[in-house]
Homo-oligomer: 396 residues x 3
């Protein structure tokens, strides 16, 4: 009998397991519904810039998704039956961090590896590149998405509901410049249509540290199409910059692939339930396929909508992005009071859940939830960007 | 029987073949002249900064040459019998791209890996480093020569003349900043003294893109020596900068290794035949060893001669460089009208052929060809660099 | 019988040996005292940013230490019985150079991999980052500590005293910008408490080159503790900057882990014996554990003391650093006359020896030596930094 937990990779113990099935219905004596042929598999890529990239593929019997251990425990894509969630980035290879140059193009190098359904942005900084007050260049969306996990384990709970977990430690540490450990967890329950992130950020320094974290959650076709809509409960929204302001009236709807569109970005103050959970919903035109992004606002109080409905070849994609702040340069976030600090030797937790939906009834339930949360709250729609952001480039 | 085609490496199919003979006279039922013991072999390097570099070694029974799959499908060197073509760079290791830092030394990092007979410069930019109008640093000679091929295959044609091909895809793609695929092909006919590049550049973006491509073809001893000469048919030539202007009178001849020489660079407008092919010839002092660089001017209208006859230890080498333009900074090339654009979702082909020569009669035939092409055309030899280039640093 | 010399790694011969014991008392017919179970072992790391890092572990029967072949032949740590020498960097992983970005944070990227007992700084530059007169950014402490060795061999002498050697070639070469080979050697005698560096720097260029080399030798607990002291014979000392000047009166003693301390740096002009050897001594509060750093001043005329007694989590460490100069930016070192030049095609040797001490009598002997060397020499203690260094950041 295979164990219910496997250490996949450990820098501290200097070990890794071979490619293959790590856990599965056939190998583990875990009383999951026998109709669900779940598994967790490891695979290593070869060729080009993806040489040596390690993937963890989870199949919960209903939902399948792929975690990129070598790229910060990001999620590449997910499949509910035949329906794929994620996006068709023009970057097809899954780029190994050793081939990334984040400082390239004045700090836009991150764009050379961006193709995930979910990539975390942070930790020392997220958002726009640019020079900070200390003269150092902050690169787009920081380092955390391009660091290999140093400890990876997968497990299934013996007790119901038999949650399958993929846990990975991503360390963003520089002597004298921040000692962050992000203990990531992606989990799912066999047979469910949900995928859950439960991440713990630890500041290993004896000094308080500023930090940023944005969950860059991205979708293209088929969920994203002409006539797709975005719904969320919110108190207020403002456009990221002047160009986004031009699209404020059609904030909730999507164009089809549009030559020259580029991107428009909107910054929301979300409304949450009594458990501090809020929800954003992206649904297709027909309303029979959707994804809900649930997130805990006590640590992720901001929500960014990134609309990048450019051409199919260049990237037709939208991002639903819970975060500690908005994707302005860190210096602007600091000024705006959206740059949190983590006390010395302390930790903070973040939760984001993705719910993949392919039936009208379930989608209606999420819409009802959003309406219920909005009920009794006015929506303040600002038509102009804040002064600091006005001239900002787009979110990228 | 081994197949007449082998997929060596494929990022899309996640496969690679082991080191060893891929194709050979002994293994393939291809009716090549049985006197020619041709082969194609794969070899992987270990140690230092060349760890993991993959080479494809081609022996056509007469000419042997080595392709560096991990460095943009460059050609390291070639051998005709005992005669080696290429140069003795002070960089002896074949540097894996993961050890390169192109942004180093204000964008001169490329020089840390330069030791090939042929390395392509491009695609978003080639030429001198420097900051562009958008504020981004362009690094010397761009990225394409330091990207690993993501798809590599080798083949031999069943039909005469049984051309042996090594094909590799090199992708230079960044979300929002260019989606180039360079489908490279190096080929040779068993028993011949020629090596041919047939490259196709595809713009996968829905937007038109500027591009640059220079074939940096380099030779040191024994072809290059005191008294070696360079011959080519051309309408006009100008010195790259003031320092090159000092050497304009001895443009066609080479010094021996010369302390303090550095480099002198000359920019030619070549003359082509009715098939749009032009030719540059480098021959040794005796006139019994030479190399001809043939190239198609419809897509490579410029030719640069890089004379770097410095000391043997520091690099005694010359470059014969067909290109889309000259190696000035891209912003200057744009001003000069030498910066082509590739329409959205379209492609363009380039051809360069190297002819390795070790007998007087063959060399005489190439010289006759050059004289024939020059015949009836005046040569305009400009003694001063163009105003924009005057203060430019050398070509590097 | 295993040979008494093993080539561990060779880029030029394209070979490497597998992990395991390379040389040992059991395998080699070398007449070492049979009570000493010495060995030399190779180990390769996996996981996170240490993937592929190769270590050479030497056990001389008394002293054990680990050399990082993939990181410039640095020494990670050493153990005399149960007593560990080295420091507890907040960077626990041993970072593969392909994951380093030296240019990060305006040239402070080196700090992302710093955790060694001994790391060399150099060769084109060492010391503070900053832009040189040619406009190029020099990164903190240069490249040499983050380059993989291209040739590594281990050996034991057949003749007494049967010195065990680990030799590695680290090449710092860029076409047109310096062709340095550092032939490193770390050696020890079976049963001894000493570890010796004998490095040879070769300038392979036909041009004279400036160079810098600092041996960054670092210790944390238990040798470093509240009340530890530093002793050395010297003619003069000055504080690196204004902040260090504040601590000049307690130059020789150490605080315990101190919040907000940061670092204070002092620059010594050491006194040597008739063989040109000088010595720095770090001993614990009790005076029963210590380490002596012996070095040859004819090529390492400067000695820097780096006191970084900050918190345990953020790095409680001190560095005893023989060098060709002090760790100011290269441009300042040049002005100060501390930037040596190496003639074309010539070489220079450096020697540093570490003596690990765990008994009072041995420590007393080193102290006597220091007193003897100091005898008859006044100590000039400058209370203010030199004008150029006054505003300099700390040494880092």
């Amino acid at each position: 009998m295979k164990p219910h937990e496997v250490v996949v990779l450990s820098a501290s113990d200097n070990l890794r397991v071979a490619d293959g099935i790590l856990l599965s219905a056939a190998q583990c004596e875990v009383p999951v519904d026998p109709g669900l042929t779940w598994s967790v598999t490891k695979r290593t890529l070869v060729g080009g810039v993806q040489e040596g990239v390690e993937l963890i593929e989870v199949d919960n019997g209903c939902l399948r998704f792929t975690i990129i251990a070598t790229r910060g425990m990001s999620v590449l894509d997910a499949r509910l039956g035949e329906l794929r969630f994620g996006w068709n980035s023009p970057i097809q290879q899954i780029v190994h961090p050793s081939h990334m140059d984040l400082g390239d193009r004045s700090g836009l190098g991150w764009l050379g590896g961006f193709n995930e359904l979910m990539v975390r942005c942070g930790i020392s900084s997220a958002g726009h590149p640019g020079v900070e007050s200390d003269g150092h260049l902050l690169t787009l969306h920081g380092k955390i998405g391009n660091l290999p996990a140093s400890e990876v384990r997968v497990s299934i709970e013996l007790d119901p509901p038999h949650r399958i977990r993929v846990q990975g430690l991503v360390e963003e540490k520089t002597f004298k410049f921040g000692l962050f450990e992000l203990w990531t967890e992606v989990s799912t329950i066999p047979g469910s249509n949900r995928l859950q992130f439960n991440d713990r950020l630890i500041n290993r320094s004896d000094y308080e540290q500023e930090y940023q974290l944005i969950y860059h959650v991205n979708f293209g076709p088929p969920i994203l199409q002409h006539g797709s809509t975005f719904l969320a409960p919110f108190k207020s929204v403002f456009p990221f910059n002047e160009y986004a302001a031009e699209g404020i009236d059609t904030l909730h709807s999507y164009l089809g692939p549009t030559r020259g569109y580029g991107e428009q970005v909107y910054c929301f103050d979300p409304i949450a339930d009594e458990e501090n959970d809020s929800t954003g919903l992206l649904k297709n035109c027909e309303g029979d396929q959707a994804v809900a992004v649930h997130f805990g606002i006590e640590t992720l109080p901001c929500f960014t909508l990134w609309k990048n409905t450019d051409t199919l070849a260049d990237g037709y994609v939208t991002g639903l992005e819970p975060g500690t702040g908005f994707p302005y340069h860190r210096s602007l976030e600091r000024l705006a009071g959206r740059l949190p600090r983590l006390a010395s030797s302390s930790q903070i937790d973040f939760r984001v859940e993705l719910e993949f939906l392919n039936d009208v009834a379930s989608i209606a339930r999420v819409e009802e939830r959003i309406n219920r949360l909005q009920h009794g709250h006015d929506r303040q729609v600002n038509r102009t960007p804040p002064p600091d952001g006005r001239d900002g480039r787009n979110e990228l």
